[in-house]
Subunit: 197 residues, 2 copies
């Protein structure tokens, strides 16, 4: 229907997560109508990121060099390690300004249905970091989902025998939320995890 | 917060319409985790489209050559012209399979608030097509908005003196819609435009 070069961009955009056919069309026409330099900058940003970014050899965070800025930061506490599913979760954690340790990106969660077991994730590399870095506590900051919970339990199972304290992020009501809008599972967890004032 | 190449892509993506900061992050990390070839294909699709596509010299539709495929199609009826605001509207019209004429893209709608008058749109080129192409009817298929309506009236005002019949797309209830969900303006238009069965 569209001229082939336009259709090709629509197809590529529609492959992105959360972008439907209609959004892809809208975006493609936006790029078509945008300034030449804007379109080039977007294309180059994609290419540059792919060539300049790799994964940190220690924690699998995104890195511009061999190790990421967090692993290279000598002020970070190496005794406490926060285990997350994906690299983007690190930024969310960092934005809380509540954590001063290092991270370890598993690269996903254990999911028997999707055929993802511990061997497909960076568990071996996690175990290899415990002794040399003197890790005493591991926070399992996987998502509060079935797979994320299963992954957290697996983290606990393999690390506890090594004498490492394993903790989990608290589940409960979102701050600023409304009881009315909380689902029963979240509310149930908030109740179980209630804290004395 | 992010490594500069990642942040740069997030910034570029967030400039796109309908893409917020959070979506831009999600998309950037998707591209980061995607296959190298996929990322390259997306970047190249953007660059290719910009270099290979121009505007049809006759109707301002997107075109791979000097004129678009519709203007080059000799089977199209040149006596009837459909005036649309943007090139992407042509595809929507074509998908109805109800129109066999040609198009003319205005490049927007008249909007006194945004400072867009007839001179900023392709009205001059529209007038220049009437006689040589033997246009007898012009369908004002601008959006059913205040600006779109104003533009349609302007089309009628300048073309009627030339003996051209000017029509407007019908406003009314969407097919498959529900009276309950129709806003009063649409319902009012549907009432005014009611047709005998």
């Amino acid at each position: 229907m569209f001229e082939p070069p336009v259709q090709r961009l629509i197809d590529e955009l529609a492959r992105l997560p959360g972008i439907g056919r209609k959004s892809a069309q809208r975006l493609a026409f936006h790029v078509l109508n945008a300034d030449e330099v804007d379109a080039e900058r977007l294309a180059n940003a994609i290419l540059d990121m792919r060539t300049q970014i790799r994964l940190c050899s220690r924690c699998f965070n995104v890195a511009a060099g061999a190790e990421c800025t967090i692993c290279l930061d000598t002020r970070r506490d190496t005794a406490i390690l926060c285990v997350v599913e994906r690299a983007q979760d690190i930024v969310v954690m960092e934005n809380t300004h509540e954590f001063g340790g290092r991270y370890h990106v598993l690269g996903g969660a254990i999911s028997p249905i999707a055929g993802i077991g511990p061997d497909q994730l960076h568990f071996r590399e996690l175990l290899a970091r415990i002794e040399p870095e003197g890790v005493q506590e591991v926070i399992a900051a996987t998502n509060p989902t079935v797979d994320g919970d299963a992954t957290a339990y697996y983290v606990a199972r393999v690390l506890k025998p090594l004498g490492v304290k394993v903790t989990r992020l608290a589940s409960g009501l979102p701050v600023g939320g409304d009881l009315d809008y909380a689902d029963e599972v979240t509310l149930g967890r908030a109740l179980v995890g209630r804290q004395e004032l």
